[in-house]
Amino acid sequence: MKKFIHDFEVTHNHHITDNYFAIYLKCPVALPQILPGQFAEVLVSNSTTTYLRRPFSIYDVDYEKNVLSLLIKKVGDGTSALSKLKEGDILNLIYPLGNSFSLPEGKKALLIGGGVGIAPMLLLAKFLHGKGYKPDVLIGGRTSNDIVEPEKYKPFGEVFITTDDGSAGEKGMVTQHSLFSENVKEYSMLYACGPDPMMKAVARVAASLEIPCEISLENTMACGIGACLCCVVETVDGNKTTCIEGPVFDTRKLK
């Protein structure tokens, strides 16, 4: 897929909670098609301490308005600087990057997002729903504050929630949700993105249930376009770049 570099204009910076915000960006030309799971490399030009671009999953796309959005969690200087952008500010993106999630064999699929790892699941839910699949969305977080915009997924599938402290949805990790004790075998694919331990847990469950599982990795990146070889992940077929051959990987291929 052809990659682009464009100066987007911030149309809205939506502060969802203290730590999460969604930034809406208008493309100066017609947006190319963006697949679920793809990401953008963002140039942070308002932070004195951020040098490299920052990768973010593409959260949502509105082809009519020519706007795409990113869902971001403040974790350091780069994301904090992005949280300060205002309407009319310019943000330079290289996009759309990476591969994408693949289609499940059967109708039902479970989309699991932990914290900000939920970001790529919105486009995926929309996409699957549009193609006639039945996606369920399971959102996990530490507390209810980490369950970000769950209503967004409702039009495309059923939404389930877990929190570590039980402040929203069921208490516990995502893999402890009752879904996994009940009809989990109905899903022909598990998709997951989130913290390392969460993705490992999901992959383990998937392996034991013999359900295919795709996860989206967040390896640190320097270029995002396959030039630096910094983002590699070890697979059964050797080192793969997360930015080009990922970020979505079949967990059975990962070492």
Binding site: Y51, C228, L229, C230
Partner: protein, 340 residues
């Protein structure tokens, strides 16, 4: 009241703050820069390689050029330095291989590549169409390994030069060790010279007390040019996890952070040797590039900056043209080493 000041003499050391304004004025004088460009000679010679302009991409930061086809017309470059090519397949180091640092980054990729045979059979056919010089970055852990790669590349029609990487800080054996002692740097240069007949550039390590001496050692053994500099050995620690960020503990520092050091080394080396010096290290815009030419570089390479802006090489090229037009420079070669 005293009036001792002679009217003619510089009275005091003060800010010459008109410079920026002068500059603005000059800019506005150029009514039609495009028309002047045709009169500008940007070509430079690195030994037998005639580069159409001095802007090249640095090894390991530009893939094989193909990765940048979506963003720029790669053919406009003076040359492409490919990623490292070794005698055998190398998996490189384990992840994490990268750490961001102030105005720079550390990497410990560790020469990941599929070996010289794969390069010749699979990659070369995909890039030989480029209308620019393809210079292969040659690395290995042994003198024999370097020789093997160089010898095999000698017959590739579209590869008219190699860059001997005797300065990679990210491999256990060989690599940087070759570049930090005169006898070793001289020995590997001499050995490869014996099997390689086209333009041979040697890429020097900045992790030395006296880089000019190393440059002279490789010049004496037949290097046609030197690239100055490879990365500086650095380290990054994750204070929260209390462990090094890179799987290899140390890695190579690149980016704007190292520019002042690179510039100093280019200046030192270009005064010490007669062969052309290729300058690199932190170049991110046309002004940086001009500074390296003024310091004595015949050509320059752009590395880490490609990650920040995949179009940066072309912007640098355009910026150099603009600078030359603004300063009435007709031939870029006038700028090489032209410090007042």
């Amino acid at each position: 009241m005293e009036t001792k000041l002679p009217a003619s003499k510089d009275l005091f050391l003060i800010r010459e703050s008109l410079n920026s304004t002068d500059q603005d004025q000059n800019k506005s004088e150029i009514e039609n820069p495009k028309s002047k460009i045709t009169m500008l000679d940007l070509s430079v010679n690195v030994h037998k390689l005639m580069l159409k302009n001095p802007v090249m991409s640095a090894s390991g930061t530009f893939g094989y050029g193909i990765e940048f086809d979506d963003f720029i017309d790669v053919n406009r470059l003076g040359g492409i330095l490919t990623k490292a090519c070794t005698s055998k397949n190398r998996d490189g180091n384990r992840y994490p291989r990268m750490a961001e640092t102030p105005a720079g980054m550390l990497n410990s990729v560790g020469l990941q590549n599929k070996g010289v045979e794969y390069f010749i059979n699979t990659i070369y056919p995909k890039i030989e169409h480029y209308d620019t010089h393809i210079i292969v970055n040659v690395s290995d852990s042994t003198v024999e390994g370097y020789m093997e790669v160089a010898e095999k590349l000698n017959s590739l029609e579209k590869v008219n030069g190699i860059e001997l990487n005797i300065s990679c800080p990210n491999v256990k054996e060989g690599g940087m060790a070759f570049g930090t002692s005169c006898p070793m740097a001289g020995a590997v240069t001499k050995a490869v010279r014996g099997v390689y007949s086209k333009t041979m550039i040697v890429k020097l390590s900045p992790n030395v007390t006296n880089i000019a001496e190393i440059a002279k050692a490789v010049e004496d053994e037949g290097a046609d040019s030197v690239s100055v500099i490879n990365t500086l050995l650095g380290m990054a620690i994750d204070a929260e996890k209390r462990r090094p960020i890179l799987s290899t503990i140390t890695g190579g520092l690149s980016g704007p952070a190292i520019k002042p050091i690179a510039l100093r080394m280019v200046w030192q080396v270009s005064k010490a040797v007669k062969i052309p010096v290729i300058g690199l290290g932190g170049i991110s815009n046309a002004t940086d590039a001009i500074e390296f030419l003024l310091a004595g570089a015949t050509a320059i390479q752009v590395g880490t900056a490609n990650f920040i802006d995949p179009q940066v090489c072309i912007k640098i090229l355009d910026g150099i043209e603009e600078y030359c037009n603004r300063h009435g420079v007709k031939d870029i070669k006038e700028l090489i080493g032209a410090l007042n």
